[in-house]
């Protein structure tokens, strides 16, 4: 037991002193998340979805509708109050404008009319923009109609939309991706040690092979947990991700996912003749996997002909499970189905790895 602990401890020390490995495993995923997070953190699609509810049947309502439709920044949807507010709540609108049924009548009597503007304040910037545009439009139309200043009162309502920002999608995806990469590269140390005949030297001592393997796996798991902590810490602090799932569940899935990908990593380590070849093989899997799985982009964004690829990639399921647990995203497959796929993948990889791994 002492041997196993000492071996594990020093494997960890080795890793902690390897600056290149530290960067790629701990810093790089965070950098990736921050870059993607800031690039797509707020949905800055070209147009801003705005809902319009027209209760006024008079000319004022018609004119405002026309002017708002002409604003290019707005992607205007006209609907019932109930639908539009629901859409706002889900994050599908940045703002919903409600023109009251007494609007035309009030302005005819030169009285102040109250326009309701519901804003998604979780997207402060676009909310502010939407509000000022709406205000200008309504006041402009009102001056045309009444030739008088200021018969407009705007009543704003703040809504914290439970909507899904890209970062909510991306953060669990990057966590899944990092875990997968950690596992895929999991055999590099062993393969280097095999190449330098260190594994052979260890074989000449009384410690057993499973201790060497186990110490490697334990160190990888520990790194995965540190990586998870850092990634989630940054996601919480910088992007205010709302984690809905329980921490033990997240940690459990991370451990499970790491083990599954370590099994694949060991299999590749058994097939590769040396460390250089192993890294090349891993990258050949890693890059397509990054973009073809649903880890970074929703599957819906993917061209139809590529979807079957995503369906067979284990990373798709790991990302999907983490997303469901962390931010309650709409599942692609259920947690149980995803776990089943991962388990199958893990057992198959582990068996093949057991057959293919060489010690010299």
């Amino acid at each position: 037991m002492n041997a196993l602990w000492t071996l594990t401890y020093y494997s960890g020390v080795q890793f902690a002193r390897d600056k290149v490995a530290l960067f790629w495993t701990l810093a790089f995923p965070v950098v990736l998340m921050v870059i993607i997070g800031f690039a797509f953190g707020e949905s800055n699609s070209a147009s801003m979805p705005v809902g319009l509810v027209v209760l006024d049947e008079g000319p004022a309502g018609q004119t405002i509708t026309q002017v708002l439709e002409g604003i290019e920044l707005f992607d205007l949807t006209i609907g019932s109050g109930e639908d539009e507010l629901a859409a706002l709540g889900k994050g599908d609108r940045r703002a919903v404008v409600i023109l009251p049924d007494n609007l035309s009548a009030a302005w005819q009597r030169r009285e102040v009319a109250t326009i309701g503007v519901h804003l998604d304040t979780s997207q402060q910037q676009s909310a502010g923009t939407a509000l000022s545009i709406v205000q200008q439009v309504v006041e402009g139309v009102q001056r045309e109609f009444t030739q008088q200043p200021s018969l407009v009162a705007i009543e704003t309502h703040s809504v914290q939309a439970e909507h899904f920002r890209p970062i909510d999608y991306i953060a669990p995806g990057i966590l899944a991706l990092s875990v997968a990469q950690l596992g895929l590269f999991g055999a590099t140390t062993l393969v280097e040690q095999r190449q330098q005949r260190l594994l052979r030297r260890l074989q000449a001592t009384p410690i057993s092979r499973w201790m060497v393997l186990l110490s490697n796996i334990v160190v990888r798991l520990a790194i995965a947990l540190v990586q998870t902590g850092i990634l989630l810490g940054v996601a919480l602090a910088l992007f205010r991700i709302q984690v809905v799932g329980s921490w033990p569940a997240i940690i459990g899935i991370v451990v499970f996912g790491t083990l599954a990908f370590i099994a694949l990593g060991f299999l590749l380590g058994g097939l590769a003749p040396n460390a250089e070849a192993l890294i090349a093989i891993v990258q050949m899997i890693n890059f397509p996997m990054m973009f073809l799985s649903g880890a970074l982009f929703p599957l819906d964004f993917m061209p139809e002909f590529l979807r079957p690829v995503a369906v067979v990639l284990p990373l798709t399921y790991l990302a999907d499970i983490l997303r469901q647990i962390m931010v309650d995203a709409t599942p692609y497959a259920t947690v149980l189905q995803g776990m089943g796929v991962l388990l199958l993948f893990m057992v198959a990889s582990a068996l093949l790895a057991w057959r293919s791994f060489r010690w010299e």
Partner: protein, 304 residues
């Protein structure tokens, strides 16, 4: 009891017979050398003895155990140095010693081992910053970590400069002084002559000769060479006519007079020294070396 018994050991890789019927016994407390060129089967033999490789046939006993059956028992009792092994690049000398110490039931104090191999000053240095000689010294320290009675050293000085090689020889001599049994492989004749009580000369997986280095030289290269300074070639013919002289080589102002009977030839040279105008100031007598033994046995030099 013999520390190692090998009887008719065989091992093939495909068509290549790496070890082809080796038999030898290493007594307790002796330094025994397996001497031969690269590819002679030395490393394969060592790997079979320490339980890293399966043999095809033959009998092997190491500290009373069969390494193929009781590998763990053998591994716990021996110290091993393998050739061309890199250790953990980012761990320090002392960390590596502590790590290996944890693999054994009992281990020697790390400080003692550091002193033995002269690495106290470098104990905090990372492995990757060590010189070749320091790496080898650390690797020798590791062979002693469980205080074994039997130590295997596979090509311990290959690739080292002469000074580093001498430092390693000193460590092996200390092992011998402590009464440890050492089996070492080498293709350096001088190393075998300096360190080994007995050597087995191996080529193509077979033992060509086995015995104490001096005995092997006497047996296979009985000639001696008398070396004298000689200014010109004029005396060559006359030297060759002396009794028991087989031939004379003249190079760079020196004559090497090869003789089958040292006493007879030397007496003649002393008698004729004035007639022949020979200078006796730098007279030397050279014995053959293991190098000559190998040449004699195989018709080639060991580094070919």
């Amino acid at each position: 009891m013999a520390a190692i018994v090998v009887e008719n050991l065989q091992k093939s890789y495909g068509d290549l017979r790496a070890v082809d019927g080796l038999s030898f016994t290493v007594e307790e407390g002796e330094v025994f050398g397996l001497l031969g060129p690269n590819g002679a089967g030395k490393t394969t033999t060592v790997e079979i003895l320490i339980g890293l490789r399966e043999r095809d046939s033959g009998r092997v006993e190491v500290t009373g155990f069969d390494p193929a059956q009781e590998g763990d028992a053998v591994k716990a009792q021996i110290g091993v140095q393998l050739q061309q092994t890199e250790l953990f690049p980012l761990l320090s000398v002392e960390e590596i010693l502590h790590l290996f110490a944890s693999f054994y039931h009992d281990s020697k104090p790390v400080a003692e081992l550091l002193e033995l191999v002269g690495l106290q000053e470098r104990r905090k240095a990372k492995y990757r910053h060590l010189s070749g000689g320091q790496k080898q010294r650390l690797s020798l320290a590791l062979t002693l970590i469980n205080d074994p009675e039997l130590v295997f050293l596979d090509e311990p000085t290959t690739g080292l400069d002469p000074q580093a090689r001498r430092a390693l020889w000193n460590i092996v001599e200390q092992m011998r002084a402590q009464g440890k049994t050492v089996l070492l492989t080498t293709h350096y004749m001088e190393e075998a002559e300096v360190l080994c009580r007995r050597v087995a000369v191996i080529d193509h997986g077979k033992i060509l000769a086995l015995g104490a280095p001096r005995d092997l030289v006497d047996q296979y290269v009985p000639e001696r060479a008398i070396e004298l300074p000689l200014a010109d070639h004029s005396a060559e013919r006359r030297l060759e006519s002396l009794p028991a002289v087989t031939h004379v080589d003249i190079t760079e102002g020196f004559a090497a007079i090869h003789t089958t009977d040292l006493r007879e030839s030397l007496t003649a040279i002393l008698e004729k020294s004035e007639d022949f105008a020979l200078s006796l100031d730098d007279l030397r007598i050279q014995r053959g070396t293991l190098e000559d033994v190998f040449l004699q046995l195989t018709g080639r030099t060991i580094r070919e």
